[in-house]
Symmetry: C2
Subunit: 144 residues, 2 copies
DNA sequence: GCGTGATATGTTATTTAGTTACATCCCCTG
DNA sequence: CAGGGGATGTAACTAAATAACATATCACGC
């Protein structure tokens, strides 16, 4: 089962190294974001031992847009959208109830940010947009 | 109004505790964001010894909008805009050259994010918008 | 095949960031 | 003056990320 995936399929790049594949796999099977140490714990059985092994893989994966880092969580998710790297900036909605993350693109936001950058002479290299709150499901099941 | 200011002075709330004042002061005098441990180092002379003392003060300060946390940096800045807490969400442009941070508000962005939230049933409690890149000055002095 | 440079790996130790747990102190109010 | 809430102080700890160094792997030119 090297490549395909039940349900939602991912862009499995064919040239990932073993460690990168393991890390991406761990993220892909997780319901919620994982910290580097969470990933490490899941992969001890596969022979990974040190944080650095995870961080190195994560660096490559995020570079290529196959995974994303959630800054406000110090954690990582598998990219949910095959085309996200084409659409430039991505936003995340992080549920503080169930921990799940939704990834979405709002082109207008990106263009507004680029607009601000242009007028202030700032040259952006990376954009982070994260919402914290409660997802639909968690709001519904709130303590009445 | 009660706490107004000249020049680049701050909105000094009149009811800060000693530790909160020290921490806010440290941030206010810094050119760039400071980590909690940076702040601690600056305040050892004032009798502060433990990280927790800093974190507690920072919690209160960020709660009140007098300081902001930069998620992508694990660091803090003094709020630059007396009215930022009125305008809801704030965005930051972080220069990777000189380390300085610009704080700006883009109401359209906030409303777009609220729009997305509404349609997806997400109830946001906090929004993080951070740009990384190079400020005007640093771009200008780039290695030709 | 052989050298060589770029990239990926493995391992240990260390630094940086943030929290838990617990005791104390100060002030306000009844 | 009792008792509660908030701020403080201190030590020990967990979590996140990096430094430094040693090997291995692979592609490429010769």
């Amino acid at each position: 089962m090297a490549h395909s995936h039940a349900g939602h399929d991912h862009v499995w790049a064919d040239d990932l190294t073993r460690n990168q594949e393991l890390v991406l796999g761990a993220l892909a099977h997780a319901e919620a974001p994982l910290s580097a140490y969470d990933i490490l714990d899941k992969l001890r059985g596969d022979g990974l031992r040190a944080p650095l092994q995870i961080y190195r893989a994560l660096d490559k994966l995020t570079e290529r847009g196959l995974a994303h880092r959630l800054e406000s969580l110090n954690a990582f998710v598998c990219c949910a959208d095959a085309h996200c790297h084409e659409s430039g900036s991505i936003a995340f909605a992080i549920c503080e109830g169930c921990g799940k993350v939704e990834e979405f693109a709002e082109p207008v936001i990106e263009s507004k940010l680029r607009g601000w950058s242009k007028t202030s002479g700032f040259v952006p290299s990376r954009m982070t947009i994260e919402l914290r709150g409660l997802c639909k499901g968690c709001v519904a099941s709130l303590p009445a």
